[in-house]
Each structure stands twice: as C-alpha cells, then as structure tokens.
Symmetry: C2
Subunit: 326 residues, 2 copies
C-alpha cells in the first residue's frame, strides 16, 4: 500500500518488527529501549532514508515555532542578513524548531506570537528587548546584550587579526573604512583596529579612519574622495566585504594597484562578494547553529548567557608585503 511514498514511522516500525512507539522512542533518544532493538530500528531508518515529518510532530505539541525579528530600519537586502537568515532557518529546523513567518507591527513587535524569537540588528536600547523581557518570552539576540541570551561573532578579535596581518606585512599607514557607529559590529571592528595599532605601537591617526556605512557605493565615494584629497595609505582595512569591493574599485580608479600599491582586507567572507579578497571569515553557519542552541536553552528556561563565535583571517590575493621604497 505504501508504494513509492516517502516512508512514515509506520513503515519503519513494520520493517523493524517493532511498534511505532518504540521507533519514536529511538528517534527521540528516550531511555528504556534495548540496545539491540535500537540498533535494528536505526538500521531501517537509515536504509529507508526515513525523516520524521515535521508537521506531524508539531501537531503533538513537540515542535516549538519560533520567529525571526529584524530590527525596524534594517535593510533586509543586506547580504549578511540574507545569509544569516538562510542558515538560521536550516539550523532551527535541525534543532527541531520550526521557523514561522512573523508579521510585525510598525514598532517591530510580532503580531502572531511564537514560542520564542531571534532578534537581528537590535539597537542597544531597543524597546522591544524590554517588551520581550517583560513578557518573559524566550529570545536570543545576535549581538552583545549582557543580561539576555546572545550570540556574537568576535568582531573585535577579527578586526585585530586583520589589522595585525597588515602590520606584520610591514604596513604602517593603515586606513580603516568603518561601518555606521550605531552598529555594534562597526564599533567593535574599529576597536579591534585601534587595539592592534596600539599593540604594535603605531600611532592612531584619526584622519585615516574613513566613515562608511557598510554600503559599496559609499565606500567607493569615500575612498576615492579621500585619496583625491591627498590622503595616502599603503593598506586599507574595510569593515565589510561589500565596502572592500567599493574600495577596490575606487583604488583602481585613482590608479592604485591592489595589492602592489595598496593592500586591502575585507570582513565577512561572503560568498559571491569579492571572491579574491583577503578577509575575515565569519562562520555564519556556526553563528546560526549556536543561536538555535541558545534558543532551545532559552525555551527550556535556562539562565541567560552569551556566546562569542570565533572568526578567522583568510589570506588571499589582496594583501602583500609593503614594498620598501627606493
């Protein structure tokens, strides 16, 4: 009767010669199943390629539905968020959580309550944090928010590593293209940049800090204008790959070769953005998995805490040793 269909728990039970209850217990790693039985069931599961149907388990009240809340004003086109979103939906599913569309009111609060939330791009004094905390709704923030559950990449560390890389290549005039100061990530990366300079006893020169906004176009204009205005540097650390792409074009247009004349480091390592860039890789998949894990903890009522996800410098073709003059 069950020809060609995707297998159900019934099929597994039948083939393994046990009841559906037992299969379910095996699948959910519940105790009280004989090891041999367990093995047999798992073997059949494997063979059939059986995957429990999410809808059904949700019906039993198992599958908690969660929502993702993007801060109002945050442009959801930003590659980083698009990717994070994708990985989150994958990670949540893996964790047995179901991601739901969450329409929000103008204040950014969800109209349809879910069991828990993930907040992206929250500002430090986001009123929604207050509201969620008041309502004791489990939530996890991506970013640093002491007192709540949070997950954040080690932005300062990444920026430090990027800058140090340039320093070790012999560069001393290192410019930094920032993100908006209202974004935590932008601030932290600036901090990492300064800390690295300090560690190498290179004086901090404010004029080398160029104000960007994470957009490619602005990066281009700022860098070009600065260079045409006479600012010189042998290396540039951009706070995002997108900005690095803009900077790269600008440098090219003012006649500088990368990396021979100016070394360039980006940040994020987004696929399809600046393929050959030396950059700092954020493991977005890892951030997503960690977020999902914390959300489960939050749903289980654990005490809030935060986790830093490490980042890694990836050296590619846009940086090189500073050429010693003459």
């Amino acid at each position: 009767m069950n020809n060609q269909q995707t297998p159900t728990i019934q099929d597994v039970a039948r083939l393994a010669g046990v009841s559906t209850g037992t299969v379910s217990r095996v699948l959910n790693q519940r105790p009280g199943v004989h090891p041999e039985t367990r093995a047999r069931v798992l073997e059949v599961v494997q063979r059939l390629g059986y995957v429990p149907m999410q809808a059904a388990r949700e019906l039993t009240g198992k599958g908690d539905t969660v929502g993702i809340l993007l801060a109002p004003g945050v442009r959801r086109y930003i590659p980083y968020f698009v990717l994070l979103f994708e990985h989150l939906s994958e990670a949540l599913w893996q964790a047995g959580l179901r991601l739901e569309e969450t329409p929000t009111d103008p204040a950014g609060l969800p109209l349809k309550p879910a069991k828990g939330y993930i907040l992206l791009g929250a500002h430090d004094h986001d009123p929604r944090l207050e509201a969620l905390a008041q309502a004791r709704t489990p939530h996890v923030l991506v970013g640093v928010y002491p007192g709540a559950f949070w997950v954040a990449p080690d932005d300062e560390g990444g920026a430090y590593a990027a800058t140090r890389h340039l320093l070790e290549l012999g560069h001393r005039e290192i410019a930094h293209l920032t993100g908006q100061p209202q974004h935590q990530a932008g601030r932290e990366r600036l901090r990492g940049y300064r800390r690295a300079l300090e560690a190498y006893q290179v004086p901090y020169r404010p004029e080398l800090v160029l104000d960007g906004d994470f957009s490619t176009l602005t990066a281009y204009r700022v860098v070009r204008k600065a260079w045409e205005g006479g600012l010189r540097f042998s290396a540039l650390f951009a706070a995002s790959d997108e900005m690095a792409v803009g900077a790269l074009a600008a440098l090219e247009d003012v006649g500088q070769r990368v990396p021979q004349d100016v070394s360039l480091v980006g940040y994020d390592d987004l696929p399809e953005v600046g393929e050959q860039l030396t950059t700092v890789r954020q493991d977005i998949a890892e951030i997503a998995r960690t977020t999902a894990r914390l959300l489960k903890e939050a749903l289980a009522g654990a005490a809030p805490h935060g986790i830093r996800v490490p980042v890694r410098l990836v050296v590619r073709g846009t940086t090189c040793l500073k050429e010693v003059e003459g």
Copy 2:
C-alpha cells in the same frame, strides 16, 4: 478548557454554532455553504483572530510542497529576489502550497524532490528547463518562456512608459543605463526605451546607451565616466532603482542637480531603495500571487501558458520639465 490558547477550528465552530466541517469549508472557499452561515463563521474567525495551523492542514495531505529554484550564478542578495522570495512564500502559503527549502546540486537541480517548482532567473537555454520538462515536473518560470508556464512583468511596456514620460517632459537627449544583456529584463527594458524613442521620432543614439549590470557601483562608475568623458544628456532612464541610486550619486559628484539639470527615472520601485525616485513600479506581490496561481494550475495538469503582469509609472521627485535654454 481552551483558555488562553490560540484558538482552533473547534473554538470557531462552537462559537459560530456550526460544525468544524462547515468552518473548514468556509475557510477553504468550498461551495455549498449558506451565505449567512459563511458570514457568521467569518465573523467569528475575525473576532478570534483565528488562523488555521499549517502543520495540521499539511498533515491531511493538503499542503503540496513546492520549491523555489534560483538559477546558479544569480546573486540571491539582489533586493528584487529577496522581495520576490518573501512575497512568494506568502502567496504560496495563501494558495495552500508549502514552500520547502530545496538544497540543490551543483547543476542547480533539486536534491529533494518537491511536487512543483518555481524557477527564478533562468536563462533562455537553461538545461534545467529541459530536465524538468522531461520529468513532467510541474513548474512555473518567472520570465518569458513560451511553451512553459511563465509569469513576467511587462518590462517592455514599463520601459516604454518611463521613456515616454521623459519625452513628454520635453527631453530629447535621453540616456539609458542597461542591465546585463543576458538578463531578459534588461533586454526588454532596452527594447521599450527604443520603441518609445521611435514613437516620438527621436533618433536612437547608441552612445547614449550605457552598459550597466544592475549594480549600484557599476552604475555610478559608468555614469560618472561617461559624463566626464563629455557625454551629455538631459535625462537618464536606469533599468533598475539600484542603478538609479548609483547614477544619482554620480550626477551629484559631477555637479549636476537632479532633476533640474538631469531628470532620472528608475525601475522596480523597491522599498528602501531610492525613496524619492520617479520609477516604474513592479507589483511584486501580484507577480507572486500570479505565480502561485499558475503553479496550482500546473499541479492540476493544465496546459502551459504565460501571463504578463502590468506595471505602473510612479512619478516622484527626480523628473521635471526640461528647462528651455536661455
């Protein structure tokens, strides 16, 4: 017993004094329900803010799962696709279709088969079309593909309207910033531009066609370089809002005011991109709904056909009458 819980179909039935079957029929717009009863049920649904639980309806076998396939090489960060994606997931849900994550192999073919597919950004001779047609898998394409189910905005008409708008404002030197020629949309918009010029008997000047690639940065560079190279025009029609944003910045940087010196028209009318732009609005929600509808037809085995979704010129602040010289 059902205190504080999200309401179920049972609650609705009880309060409306009917059976769950009837409520279900109302909700699914099935015939054979007395108008009065229908109204009463809807009233209760409204009052309770009842929303059917997707998991449950999926369990009944209702929810055909469908997948969205993005052509390989298409950058999914593109605002247009992000938006289309969102609207599609909404529209599919409304149509009772369940959108599934569809991991694909390197060739862009789905690994986990769904009942039907929506293809975005397909090229004209995409091998996947062949494969899907062979396998008789129902699918709908966004774009024009005679012989298959397709939905496409009226790009040529939109471009025509945009260009005509500029012509009627008295402009005669109208430049056009194109998308890549391998994109249907880019080609069609160029065609609309040419057709409008023809209709107004303005000679077509190839040098006024600037090669863009739908990106903001390239738009900026191309426009700036062209202007600095001596090219002059009193109006510019960009084939996307993102390119218009780049063009706007470029014009500003070469000392031209918009719209006093140069009128500018974009395309797409994406929220959060170039708010004040005169542009051509694509009704993405409508495209999504139409796509969902066609997919249902395809699933039902209907004969393939295509639908054009109309677009609309939205006049805002970046266009004005051409000033007649002193």
